[in-house]
Amino acid sequence: MGLLTILKKMKQKEKEVRLLMLGLDNAGKTTILKKFNGEDINTISPTLGFNIKTLEHRGFKLNVWDVGGQRSLRSYWRNYFECTDGLIWVVDSADRMRLQDCKQELHSLLLEERLAGSTLLVFANKQDLPGSLSSEDIRKTLDLDNIKSHHWRILPCSAVTGENLLDGVDWIIDDIASRIFTMD
């Protein structure tokens, strides 16, 4: 590891948290990101690359990375694993036809060595849609109860209304903080 990377890692320990947001395409990742940042969510195009936002929350500096979820982009995800403290997995709760696909992608992600030790938050997004599945359904279908390798939690949310977004972030920060910042 080079000098700059070492310095970066050292600094990251100081109340700086890196969150990686992944999920299938059309899950609403960029909408969640922009919602966090209080931006207009009506003009968002499908993501071809990745987006980054730095947010201040409860004295933490959150670096949130949102990487495009199209099938052809998923092989790039691994370039963003390094230094990830928390993984936010976003699900389109109304996309019933692709939940198996979603489950597979998530479980193979959790095998990644560089994500070992990161906290997993699953957002069952699009709860504003009347036809969306509940977080309970998603939890079963994605077989979350079998995840033993990571601390995880699932929350129903809506990027459109903002429902539960902050609760999710609060939880993931708390979980990360309890692991990493115990010295403070």
Binding site: L3, L4, K11, F50, N79
Partner: protein, 178 residues
């Protein structure tokens, strides 16, 4: 040997090491400060500026001033970090015959709560993706005839950095500040 003996002996050793550490810490500190001083020099020298400008020149056309980032930026950023790390290590080894990057990074880690001053901010800026992208966008804007003057070392100082003069006085500053 009883367990308690082991513990007390260990404590003794610990204590002893600490004493040794304190007694020679001035020497270590001096070397550390010297290294930092060299890094500041290196970064401000023309050679480094040229290295950076060449890099910017090579890749700036890949960058677009849009909020979303292309995957290729990540590859370019990795190359950039490698380039700078390699340059620093080579230059430091040239200036300090007994320089060891391993030793230096260990010293950094020991002082990690006390690393304040613009030089560290700057080193961190190199590995900061957002700053990296901004640097390219500034360079591109300048290349394409927008207003920024590129003539002297803008590329390093573009991200909230003061002018070179401040940078040189940093080391002293960080010690006498409070």
């Amino acid at each position: 040997m009883e367990a308690s003996d082991v513990i007390s002996e260990l404590q003794c050793v610990d204590f002893g090491e600490e004493e040794i550490f304190t007694s020679c810490s001035n020497e270590v500190d001096t070397k550390f400060d010297l290294t930092i001083g060299h890094i500041e020099d290196i970064i401000m020298e023309d050679k480094f500026q040229t290295l950076q400008n060449n890099f910017l020149e090579k890749f700036y056309s890949e960058f677009d001033d849009t909020e979303e980032n292309k995957f290729i930026y990540t590859d370019i950023h990795k190359d950039y970090i490698n380039l700078i790390e390699k340059c620093l290590e080579e230059e430091l080894s040239g200036r300090m015959p007994d320089f060891s990057m391993q030793e230096f990074t260990r010293q950094l880690a020991e002082r990690k709560d006390d690393l304040e001053g613009e030089i560290f901010e700057m080193l961190l800026t190199f590995s900061d993706f957002v700053a990296f992208k901004d640097m390219f966008l500034d360079y591109k804007a300048a290349k394409e005839g927008k207003t920024i003057d590129l003539s002297d070392g803008l590329t390093v100082t573009s991200v909230d950095m003061p002018s070179g003069c401040d940078l040189f006085s940093l080391n002293g500053q960080s010690i006498s500040k409070d």
